[in-house]
């Protein structure tokens, strides 16, 4: 039986979720539990001249107040150790935590946090990416030079990291172009906005700590707690109840150490639940703002000869996990095209804003929006159909990527053909109106891999427990693991119970990040299940007097191939074995594609070669109200090469959710700041998510290419890829309707209206006269 034939996909966590009986972190109450509140910096940049917690300590109902003075003297994070758990001396963004309070009610905790006296010497805030790079800019980190770092970082004033990607002589190649098109694109920062605000409940029993938390990365959370509170790994247990979405926003530092430290002092369990406002301003997981300046030289026949670009990426105040952003963004600006010579420079810049971190396909939606807008502008300059221009330049199997990777089987061109044909067929049926157009964008994304493990047990009653370090954040990826095991074992998935989201019982894994669950945990689950299957075959071979390799496992029974009538039930086999059957797997990272040395990259963070790269094409049907600038997306046609699709319903769900997030990013989702660097729209009324009334119809096709180095059954990841191409497709449709380019993301009604009425000057096209 092929897994894709399973008609409906049953989520093991489904009944919990629809009945309201499943518990999320904020739903937990422990005996004697106190409630936490943070005191935030409030100023984007300032030196602390007074910090007096005594008014809070004096309040009735307050059980603990802690600051930097109450926790070990440790700098984090792993890549650049540029911050402490609680602010020390200087605050660098408005949402930085200065103090934490625990009290008997959330209301008292908040009142006590507000009563803490903090005075600052206000320092000039760094809020502009380009100005931050100037010689005269104030510094976000005065002592940047002294921070510990891991790996190859570039230290220079406000530059947190720099990457350069060079192939050939881009200047010389540019000089041979018939036409050079250049443009600037500026994307605002945005947010992950899971509907569940984060929550943490920490409880000590003696010197053992248990933390219930809404993290996407439980093992990472455990490491962070151990590192900052100086605890041995074996005494810290992280449990994730149901998780109400993450989208990357719940990776990384997540306030578990703060609450654990608070609970230790309070001598009782402590619970933190974020408000929506806090969810916007405090986490180190904002989607980074970005500037893309790009020039591309082409021949009249559409051949790209060179691309040169500079990217400015807003890192915010501290290093979350963004050291790889410059290289990854540079790869995206190179694009999934045969781009000739390349010179792409990317600066990740410290500013006095909330830290940026991996939000669903970090750097890609913005970089892709810029480069796919640019791609259409090149086609216009050449008087060529944008689809035809892409067709001529898209990478195909055997082509070489920006850093020299030779692509195995890939389906970029198939994605383009399928998505554009689907959109055209719909437009043929229902012709485009005068204010409507179709826009096309390509997208691409790597598949990330790490080592992972899994345990499996088959009990005497024939049921199975599958223990995985995988983290379910809603995608259904962990749920899918059950189907892989069921397929290996020949049992109904319903007989398999998943044990997950508990670091005390499961082997370590990367968690719900980087679209890795199926790829990594899936490989481990396959091996653990195969071990049990092998034991079942041995036992059955003995019983049925056949060779183990002739034993077929199906419907919880073993039989000899070709003789299904004489079978033996798994329950009987386990009983014969005298003990439950165990599988334990630990699988290594698959091999990454080799990189020849034909290109160079400064600031290499391992993003140059992509394991099982995923490609996509999105085509948006867009209508514009010319009077108001309001854009409406009625249809999005997508085609995705994400390898074999194992859970078809889940796959469609990922694409549909990713597309709608892309529509939001294209049109409404952008963080606005005041002059001092405070967020002005840190609420759902002002930071507008798409509603069901805005949602386009989404038509998805999967290009299932047999990629040699993909995961289980040839699957790649799929959680991030659908979030990459949508904004570019909408931008290109919009430009066709209004005849102008909107160069800022999100392309809000106001920006569209202004673009319609203003002269455009930031694209230039030079025709070579010689």
């Amino acid at each position: 039986m092929s897994l894709t034939e399973i008609p409906a996909f049953a989520r093991a966590d489904g009944p919990d979720k629809v009945s309201g009986l499943g518990r999320y972190t904020a739903d937990l109450t422990l005996t004697g539990m106190a409630h936490a509140a943070f005191r935030y910096a409030d100023v984007p940049h300032g030196r602390i001249v007074e910090l007096d917690t005594s008014p809070a300590r004096a309040m009735s109902g307050v059980v603990a107040v802690i600051t930097d003075a109450d926790v070990p003297d440790i700098y984090l994070s792993a890549e650049i150790a540029d911050r402490t758990l609680f602010a020390r001396d200087v605050v660098r963004y408005e949402g930085e935590v200065v103090a934490a309070v625990a009290a008997v009610t959330p209301e008292i905790a908040r009142a006590a946090a507000a009563a803490i006296v903090v005075r600052y010497e206000v320092l000039p805030a760094v809020t502009d990416i380009e100005a931050a790079l100037g010689e005269n800019s104030p510094l976000v980190h005065e002592s940047w030079d002294s921070y510990a770092t891991s790996g190859d970082v570039v230290r220079d004033r406000n530059t947190a990291m720099r990457s350069e990607l060079h192939r050939g002589d881009a200047d010389a190649a540019m000089a041979t172009a018939d036409v050079v098109v250049s443009g600037r694109y500026v994307a605002d920062a945005s947010h992950a906005v899971p509907i569940e605000p984060r929550a943490v409940v920490a409880e000590w029993q003696g010197d053992h700590l248990t933390v219930h938390t809404s993290t996407q990365v439980p093992f990472d959370a455990r490491s962070r707690i151990c590192e900052t509170l100086e605890l041995p790994t074996s005494r810290v247990r992280v449990i994730v109840p149901h998780l109400g979405g993450g989208f990357g926003g719940k990776c990384g530092a997540h306030f578990e150490p703060h609450i654990a430290a608070l609970a230790k002092v309070a001598k009782r369990p402590v619970k933190l639940v974020f408000s929506r406002y806090e969810e916007f301003i405090a986490p180190d997981r904002r989607r980074e703002g970005m500037i893309v300046d790009v020039a591309t030289g082409v021949k009249h026949d559409g051949t790209i000869v060179a691309r040169a670009a500079w990217l400015g990426i807003d890192n915010g105040a501290y290093m979350a996990d963004a050291t790889f952003f410059p290289q990854l963004a540079a790869m995206h600006v190179a694009g999934p095209y045969r781009t000739g010579s390349l010179k792409i420079e990317a600066d990740l810049v410290y500013t006095n804003r909330q830290p940026s971190g991996s939000v669903r396909a970090p750097t890609a939606p913005q970089a892709c929006w810029a480069i796919e807008s640019h791609t259409d502008e090149i086609a216009v300059a050449l008087d060529m159909d944008p689809i035809e221009f892409r067709r001529r330049n898209l990478v195909a199997t055997g082509d070489v990527g920006p850093m020299g990777q030779v692509y195995d089987e890939i389906g970029a061109l198939e994605c383009l053909e399928l998505a554009t044909a689907s959109a055209q067929a719909s437009a043929d049926q229902k012709p485009l109106g005068p204010d409507e157009a179709l826009g096309v964008s390509m997208g691409w994304w790597p598949t990330f891999a790490v080592a992972a493990g899994a345990f499996a047990k088959m009990h005497a009653d024939g049921t199975v427990q599958l223990v995985t370090g995988g983290q379910e954040c809603g995608t259904g990826a962990v749920m899918t693991l059950r189907n892989l095991a069921a397929d290996e074992l020949g049992i109904d998935p319903e007989l398999i119970e998943l044990v997950y989201q508990d670091t005390a019982v499961a082997p370590e894994g990367p968690g719900a990040s980087g679209s890795q669950t199926l790829l990594n945990h899936g490989r481990a689950v396959e091996v653990a299940s195969q071990q049990i299957a092998a034991q079942l075959r041995e036992l059955a071979a003995d019983h049925l007097e056949a060779a183990p390799e002739d034993i077929v496992l199906a419907e919880s029974k073993a039989s000899v191939a070709g003789a299904p009538a004489a079978s033996v039930a798994f329950t009987e086999l386990v009983e014969r074995a005298g003990a439950e059957l165990l599988g334990t797997a630990s699988v290594e990272m698959p091999e990454y594609p080799e990189l020849p040395t034909s290109s160079t990259c400064i600031g290499d963070q391992g993003m140059g070669a992509w394991l099982a790269p995923q490609f996509s094409c999105h085509v948006a049907r867009v209508a514009v109200d010319r009077d108001t600038g309001v854009v409406r997306v009625s249809e999005v046609h997508t085609a995705h090469d994400s390898g074999t699709i194992i859970n078809l319903m889940g796959a469609h769900g990922q694409v549909e959710g990713g597309v709608l997030m892309g529509v939001g990013q294209a049109l409404t989702e952008g963080t606005r700041y005041d002059d001092e660097g405070r967020q002005r729209n840190a609420g759902l009324l002002e930071y507008k998510l798409q509603t069901i009334a805005d949602a386009p119809s989404i038509h998805t096709q999967f290009v299932e290419i047999a990629t040699p180095n993909a995961g289980p059954r040839g699957a790649k990841g799929l959680a991030e890829a659908p979030n990459v191409a949508t904004a570019g497709a909408i931008a290109n449709a919009l430009a066709k309707v209004i005849g102008q380019r909107v160069r800022e993301l999100p392309m809000t009604a106001e920006r569209v209206w202004r673009a319609q009425t203003a002269d455009q000057s930031s694209t230039t096209t030079e025709q070579d006269q010689s």
Binding site: A26, I195, R276, H652, L660, G683, L684, L685, A693, A695
Partner: protein
């Protein structure tokens, strides 16, 4: 824990009320400023009702008050005194899921599930006042409920299928 806490029942700010939730009446003492969402979740222990924004913007906290959908985060518990409240825990008939619950699951309209309770209550109220809604009417009816995971398509399908199923078509 702390006798002078304003949360304690003896506080002059608190009030004794009766909430009828999913058919069962609960006498509770609540501070007059407490919202219904928080009282349902903490005093009554029904945590199916979620809080996503505390500001009337996401719909995760939606419950029915005398059959009408309200955002319980922005509704004072005291105002619900003596009235009938239905939460997501009250949708199923014993172990039998309501068709909306069954269909939202089978259609693939549940991912992280955090919006699901509010979405279900909103859909329930919609079908109650309009048993045969058009697709457009479903879109309008559910536009106060944000979902970040699904792109809404499968939620729309589930509500439509349920309307058809309940009308015996």
């Amino acid at each position: 824990m702390n006798p002078s806490s304003p949360m304690s029942p003896s506080s002059p700010m608190s009030q004794q009320i009766n909430l009828t939730v999913n058919g069962m009446t609960w006498p509770v003492a609540v501070e007059t400023s407490r919202n219904l969402c928080s009282v349902l979740r903490t005093e009554i222990g029904l945590t199916g009702t979620k809080e996503g924004c505390d500001d009337c913007e996401c719909g995760a906290c939606m419950v029915l008050l005398d059959g009408q959908p309200i955002n319980s985060c922005s509704y004072l518990a005291a105002q619900a005194d003596g009235r009938e409240i239905t939460t997501v825990e009250g949708l199923a008939d014993g172990d039998e899921l309501h068709p909306l619950q069954r269909n939202i699951l089978s259609a693939g309209g549940v991912q992280c599930g955090f919006c699901t309770p509010g979405m279900l209550m909103s859909a329930y109220a919609l079908l109650d006042r309009n048993p045969e809604p058009s697709i457009e009417e479903i879109r309008i009816g559910l536009s106060g409920n944000l979902c970040r995971c699904t792109g809404y398509a499968r939620i729309l399908t589930a509500v439509h299928e349920t309307a058809v199923e309940l009308n015996g078509a």
